[in-house]
Symmetry: C2
Subunit: 224 residues, 2 copies
């Protein structure tokens, strides 16, 4: 019996990850974390549609306060202008400090109580913004800390099935898995229509274009 806790943000990467986890598991448990991100409302809306679509055995939806208090990320604080144009040199200010460490710690506690052996997270290393907590090496180290910090009968592994894929490959894989891309949200900025101009929208639009597909969500504006 394979039970899996899946971190589902409402974004494209976690959507495809959820579809993979669903195929690979007997029971799935969806975990969604609101942390004060400016696009929280829209992400939660997508998450709830995905719950309807994938019918997980249980859902946990939490509002976690730490990042609102800690601040420092343009994803949370409106007063920090969004970094655009990833340089690849420095970590962009959309980085939320040790976010995946916080997410995985919550997932690990829940997984331990559920006796779930797997945590799925839709992190992407190569084609992403250079966030340190999206690296494969980080996940392996965190897995080890879960192993040492939980009961001896608890055995949890972290699965990152899209970590080495390019965005266009994720779109193609999602198409093969018939994922409902219309229930996913990537934009860093707007809440009604995706802006089409932030780094995240640009990456998404390019990914669909490279995959030869039409993105089903509407945009306020699309760069030519």
């Amino acid at each position: 019996m394979i039970r899996s806790v899946i971190l589902v943000s409402g974004g494209m990467d976690s959507l495809v990850t959820a579809a993979i986890a669903k195929k690979e598991s007997d029971e799935v448990f969806f975990l969604h974390l609101n942390y004060g991100q400016l696009t929280e409302r829209k992400e939660k809306e997508c998450f709830q549609k995905l719950v309807g679509f994938y019918q997980p055995k249980e859902v946990m939806l939490l509002d976690i306060p730490q990042f609102r208090s800690i601040g420092s990320s343009s994803l949370i604080d409106m007063n920090i202008p969004l970094d655009t144009q990833q340089t690849g040199i420095k970590v962009p200010n959309t980085y939320v400090p040790f976010r995946n460490g916080n997410f995985l710690a919550i997932a690990a506690g829940w997984a331990e109580v559920l006796a779930a052996g797997r945590i799925y997270i839709g992190a992407v290393e190569e084609d992403s913004s250079g966030y340190p907590d999206c690296r494969e090496s980080f996940f392996r180290a965190f897995e080890r800390s879960i192993h040492l910090g939980t009961k001896s009968e608890t055995n949890i592994r972290i699965f990152t099935p899209v970590i080495h894929l390019k965005k266009a490959e994720i779109v193609k894989l999602g198409k093969r898995l018939a994922v409902p891309f219309q229930y996913s949200w990537s934009c860093y900025r707007d809440q009604d229509l995706a802006c089409g101009t932030c780094d995240s929208c640009i990456l998404r639009l390019k990914a669909f274009r490279d995959a030869g597909m039409q993105d089903p969500i509407p945009y306020r504006q699309k760069k030519p």
Copy 2:
């Protein structure tokens, strides 16, 4: 300039740890986490007195929801009768799943933003209840996951200065450091007076006795 984030629960171990951190650091930042533990009110009261006593540069006090939702611990759920008499064979039901992993993840995010190089936590391995997330090996693994999951310029180490001490040694050390033991709370049960009969009270009372000291807090009852 040594800046340190200290996890301060209001218990005896974290109090002595805070006193050590204060001596070893130029600036200290106190982090207190309410997670639905039944003794939250009393612990927060102690924490606030400790803030007055030690005057940290900043304080962060958060209510975190995950353990209330996950449940499974008698520290949180009144319907689970408290395990008494530590057998040393199995982890007692006071264990909160991956609690220190969750605490350290929050501390790491804050430390990164503060550019603090140290996190202090008052975990005790040997004389404790056999919680897996109190082991030295866990802290070393978690430190590595912080290293890999934060920016390259971030360099955070985890300090556990009382981890290998017996409770009586912690009391003696606290005495040498002139810590205000009257502002600490250990009881798992009551909120006005310490019960004197739960495992935590018994350990504390024995520690003071072994250290040849009088515990300054009042008890409802003391086992002979």
